[in-house]
Amino acid sequence: MNRNVLIGAVALMAVGSGLAFRHLSPPAPPPTAAASDPLTVTFSDLQGQAHALSEWRGKVLVVNFWATWCPPCLKEIPSFVELQKRYGAQGLQFVGVALDDREAVASFIASRDINYPILAGEEDVARYMQAQGNTIGALPFTLVFDRNGRLRHTQQGEWSPEESARVLADFLAH
């Protein structure tokens, strides 16, 4: 009988010390995360010259991803040309980045009057779009950065002339 009491006592003490130890264990510090600047990316122009998007830092920068095989992209380009003409002086800058073959892009823009820079790429463009939230990789896809280089608007799919004019005028006013 005595022995059983002893065993019980030892077990109780062990459980108690275990519980106490659990509460004394120190917590670990939380991890930290770093974000990189999305404007540091570079794409080639049609002559093969690399341009960083940061070249246009300080302006309200609209980066429009498009392709010659994408009808909705081609449809919205004239309205972008119009907006560039109207608000360029107030610091609005469009940049077209084509996810396409450079030659196809060159022959396409030769027949149009596009008043903003056109860059092109393939895998690098696809990867960048993905990093900016275009997980399905579809076009058109448009990003708007404010004058401080912060991403303020993401447009997946066609951007209607009214809607783009309204959003951009709002950014230019600030």
């Binding site: 062990a14 909705p72 081609l74 990867r127 990789g137």
Partner: protein, 613 residues
């Protein structure tokens, strides 16, 4: 007495069927839940689901299923053989719809479905043909997808129904180096049914060497020996064959289901309800082993069996077959990690025949050592008697252990540890650990008391560990060795938990915006291999150092609820453990996907292949 057993037996059988049926039902429900979720725009592989049928008579039937509101351009379809291993003829296009396009004028498009037979003539001497298929399409609501490339590798003399795996190239035409989910799939791609069966047989032989199959040996030998003394070698072999065939048939049923549903059979079996039911089944078996009641077939059935086997010794064939089925169920979870690879392949295959044949072969392979035991048991095993009772008691303990092991998947780990401790202490006390030895104790009595004391002591240590929050059966005092505790706390903190597919997507985007590669670990509290992976591999200093630049994500699927299952199904996973690696662009490297456990060296090799900083 017999009437009571009969009722219980039926109850157990009913329970098993309920379990199987509810697993299938859960699967169906899960599918409904998955399709109800819709995003604004579908990812390309869902907007345009591409598949192909068997390459026969120099024709390859191709099928695109186009989601509602999406369409494919006829003139953007391209078929090439990049390495010249085949000549591709002009396919007969079905009539297309016309669409007035503002940019391109009138274009031919396909909605809903496009089926065509592609004429493919292999080049002389080519054993495989390489095809690259390109297609492109848009959504009506104003977005277009970049051209999608599918690379196919097809065996020329394809006699089987086994299609080669698909390789989806990401937009932009990246090299198709990541073909398959794992190495087993690679091994089996392009092979015919006999090759698949042979591979799975060999795979089963290997599994037979794992401790998973050992418990079957005494089960079988006690059957073969039976209560009326050892059977002859021929009878023993017959009984073992029946046992092994029943076991293999059980696996075949699983393979068939995997092939039919093409979905996560295993995950359904991890549902808490199913696990608790299994656990109850094992407790019942254990009680019967301890002699609280006698488990046997209904009397009428037993008498009929006995009549038909008059003069035969050993167990009845039907009983043996039932034991075979039960054994497969018992051992199944134990071999789950390697089975996951097999099931992944079979589900991908989508053919019930291939699935059934493959897992039947697997079961036969696992049964080979059992056949040897069965054939020889009649010679070297002693007659039934007191020793058989002991064996039954051992199995009672093992059954209770299985019950705890199943419950451990749903209960908190600390509570599970406490249950283990109760089992050990209980067993120890039955071995008379705490009773004084008689003065003239035999060597055996002393041995059993020693063993009993050891069990009681370890059980006590487990209770202490459980109270301190330990969760590892083999390291119950880990909370007290401060170094390892701090480390494991640190590692747990370093992982960011993601729950849903959307959260995962967001986390990967965030990481790739920061230019970081991502490690996604599928974990569950009940997953023993996951813990081993965490402790031995992620805990390795070299691995930890290598992972410093990674965003570490963890999907905790302990609950295994609908969200968890949808997440795993979306990634074609069968449950933890699984480790997925994404490059800094946020693309998963399927070729480096890890299913099951890998030691630090192997894991470092995978990280190196990722080419991360």
């Amino acid at each position: 007495m017999d009437k009571r057993f009969a009722g219980l037996k039926l109850l157990l059988c009913g329970l098993l069927f309920t379990v199987a049926a509810s697993a299938g039902l859960l699967d169906k429900l899960d599918q409904l839940g998955g399709s109800a979720k819709q995003q604004d725009f579908l990812p390309p592989e869902q907007a345009f689901v591409f598949s192909h049928e068997t390459y026969e008579q120099q024709r390859l039937p191709l099928v695109w299923t186009v989601a509602e509101g999406y369409y494919l351009y006829r003139d953007k379809l391209k078929f090439e053989s990049p390495d010249g291993s085949a000549v591709i003829g002009k396919p007969q296009f079905p009539p297309a719809e016309e669409k007035q396009d503002e940019a391109f004028g009138r274009v031919a498009i396909y909605k809903h479905e496009l089926k065509l037979a592609l004429p493919v003539t292999p080049a002389a001497g080519a054993s495989k043909v390489q095809l690259k298929i390109t297609y492109q399409g848009c959504a009506e609501d104003g977005i277009c997808y970049p051209p999608i490339h599918q690379t196919l590798s097809l065996p020329v003399a394809a006699v089987s129904a086994a299609p080669a795996p698909l390789a989806v190239e990401p937009p932009g035409g990246r090299a198709a180096e990541s073909l398959d989910a794992d190495r087993l799939s690679t091994l089996l791609a392009n092979s015919g049914l006999p090759v698949i069966a042979a591979t799975f047989f060999g795979f089963g032989l290997l599994l037979a060497l794992t401790p998973c199959v050992f418990p079957m040996v005494p089960i079988l030998s006690s059957i073969v020996v039976g209560e009326r003394g050892p059977a002859g070698a021929g009878r023993g072999l017959l009984l073992s064959v029946v046992y092994v065939l029943a076991m293999a048939a059980t696996y075949a049923a699983v393979g068939l289901t995997a092939g039919l549903f093409g979905r996560n059979v295993q995950a359904a079996f991890q549902h808490p309800v199913v696990l608790v039911a299994f656990s109850a089944l094992f407790v019942a078996l254990a009680l019967s082993m301890f002699g609280f009641f006698h488990l046997q077939l209904p009397q009428a059935l037993r008498q009929r069996l006995e009549r038909s086997h008059q003069g035969s010794r050993g167990g009845s064939l039907a009983g043996v077959a039932l034991m075979g089925v039960l054994s497969a169920v018992i051992v199944g979870p134990c071999v789950a990690p390697p089975l996951a690879g097999a099931l992944l392949y079979l589900a991908h295959e989508g053919s019930p025949v291939v699935g059934g044949v493959a897992l039947f072969a697997l079961g036969l392979g696992m049964g080979v050592p059992l056949l040897i035991v069965g054939a020889s048991a009649g010679h070297f095993l002693p007659r039934a008697g007191a020793w058989l009772e002991r064996v039954q008691h051992v199995f009672g303990v093992v059954s209770l252990g299985m019950a705890i092991w199943f419950l451990g998947r749903v209960l908190p780990p600390t509570l599970t540890l406490a249950l283990w401790s109760l089992l050990l202490i209980g067993t120890g006390i039955f071995l008379r650990a705490l009773e004084p030895l008689p003065e003239l104790a035999s060597g055996w009595q002393r041995l059993w008391k020693g063993l009993g004391l050891a069990l009681v002591t370890y059980g006590g240590v487990l209770i202490v560990g459980a109270a301190a929050g330990a969760d590892d059966l083999l390291k119950p005092l880990a909370p007290f060795t401060s170094a390892s505790e701090n480390q494991s706390l640190e590692r747990k903190q370093a992982f960011t938990t993601v729950k849903s597919a959307a959260a995962l997507e967001a986390a990967i985007q965030q990481a790739s915006a920061a230019g970081q590669p991502v490690l996604l670990d599928f974990y569950a509290d009940w997953c023993v291999e996951c813990k081993r992976l965490e402790r031995e591999t992620f805990g390795d200093p070299r691995v930890a150092q290598r992972l410093a630049g990674f965003t570490l994500l963890r999907a905790d699927v302990t609950a295994n609820d609908e969200t968890d299952r949808a997440l795993m199904a979306g990634l074609s996973l069968f449950g933890p453990p699984a480790v997925l690696l994404y490059d800094p662009a946020g693309q998963e490297r399927r070729d480096q996907r890890l299913i099951g456990f890998a030691g630090p060296a192997e894991f470092l090799a995978r990280l190196a292949a990722l080419g991360a900083p």
